[in-house]
């Protein structure tokens, strides 16, 4: 067995990289070992939650960058 994926209380506590890392672990686990169906479904569900969370995080980041870019367009760097 590869390393177990520990349970998290709240997925929102995770940093983006942590969530992505967990998703990768789930993939590796499912790919390398034959996981019992019930557990496989649990992992799949958790994986989908992680995906949703990661996508949300990326969208948020994108929004922030857009805002910063727009704010900074007012600055004339070369004066």
């Amino acid at each position: 067995m590869s390393e177990e994926i520990e349970e998290v209380e709240d997925i929102k506590e995770l940093e983006f990289e942590e969530a992505l890392d967990r998703l990768e672990k789930i993939n590796k686990k499912l790919e390398r070992n034959k996981v019992p169906l019930e557990r496989a479904i649990e992992l799949y569900q958790h994986g989908m939650e992680l995906i949703e969370y990661c996508e949300k995080k990326l969208e948020e980041a994108e929004g922030k960058i857009k805002k910063i870019t727009e704010d900074n367009e007012k600055i004339d760097w070369k004066r």
């Binding site: 998703l23 499912l30 799949y44 989908m48 995906i51 990661c54 990326l58 994108e62 960058i65 070369k78």
Partner: protein, 307 residues
């Protein structure tokens, strides 16, 4: 002190010099620094004669707006030493930055006051830096040894004490120009650095920060989908396999091909004619139902079909 011949004067000079030297009056540790740019200059010299005139001219030429305090003093002859001492004390009690004591050249007797012990002690005691400037060519006078600085002539003292204003102004301007240039270069350097940083890919296209993260996430999404599909396929294949095996074991398939199961009234399966008598009620089980029938005749096969 009036003494007879030159020889006696010389002896007295040597004796005093040695005595004061031993007392430490000439030591460097007692020398006060002449201020770089004095605001107030005091002069102890004769009210008449070229020395004062020359000094005033030089001071004015070099730095016109310096305050000069002249105490016209009898510098030779009877009682001159006491007069010099009084003038030094007077200027020292004022708020003066540097004092010049001096006179133009003369014979050794003319300059003798500057070799007097009381003058030497007054110079030593004064809190204001003192420049000794007695015009003479050879041996130093006691006042030269004890003063904080010595100049060969009164004009030399004026030059020593006060810098040339225009030169200072030029130096300041030059320094200012250099500082401004250096500062401008510094700012220019930082500006260039900032501009090049602002032009770096991350600032030009900040979305790039997210690109590889998106890519990694997408990869994982795809992997998860593929893997899970494979899981479902594997498990359903396994299930179908088991289903097929089970199906193969079921009598229903056999019955579908035209075979029936015969049971007696107690639902016991009949496998031999020996178990059946005439008029026995038999149940014939088909795939889709059951037939009840009565036995008319029992006939045993000649050949043994069963093992």
């Amino acid at each position: 002190m009036m003494v007879g011949g030159i020889g006696e004067l010389y002896l007295a000079y040597e004796k005093l010099k040695e005595k004061l030297s031993e007392e430490g009056l000439f030591d460097d540790e007692h020398k006060k620094e002449i201020p770089f740019l004095p605001q107030k200059v005091g002069i102890v010299t004769s009210g008449e004669g070229a020395a004062l005139r020359d000094m005033l001219r030089v001071l004015k030429d070099r730095f016109e707006n310096i305050d000069v305090f002249v105490v016209p003093t009898q510098v030779q002859g009877e009682g001159a030493a006491e007069k010099i001492v009084d003038s030094i004390k007077r200027l020292d009690s004022m708020d003066i930055d540097v004092i010049i004591i001096g006179r133009g050249g003369g014979s050794i007797e003319d300059l003798w006051s500057f070799n007097e012990e009381k003058v030497a002690r007054a110079i030593f005691k004064a809190e204001t830096p003192i420049v000794s400037a007695v015009g003479h060519e050879t041996d130093f006078l006691i006042s030269d040894f004890v003063a904080d600085e010595r100049a060969p002539t009164p004009t030399g003292a004026a030059e020593l004490v006060v810098p040339i204003k225009t030169e200072l102004e030029q130096k300041i301007m030059e320094q200012e120009r250099r500082t401004r240039t250096a500062l401008n270069n510094l700012i220019l350097g930082y500006r260039e650095k900032m501009e090049s940083l602002a032009e770096s890919p991350v600032f030009q296209r900040p979305e790039r920060i997210l690109e590889d993260r998106y890519q990694k996430l997408d990869e994982n999404i795809e992997r998860l989908g593929i893997t899970f599909d494979r899981y479902l396929k594997t498990y359903s294949q396994e299930l179908n396999g088991q289903k097929d095996r089970l199906k193969a074991l079921s009598p229903i398939q056999t019955m579908k091909r035209g075979y029936s199961i015969v049971m007696d009234e107690d639902n016991e399966v009949i496998t031999s004619v020996n178990e059946v008598n005439i008029e026995d009620i038999l149940k014939i089980n088909m795939v889709d139902g059951e037939i009840k029938t009565e036995t008319k005749e029992v006939e045993r096969c000649q050949k043994k079909l069963r093992k």
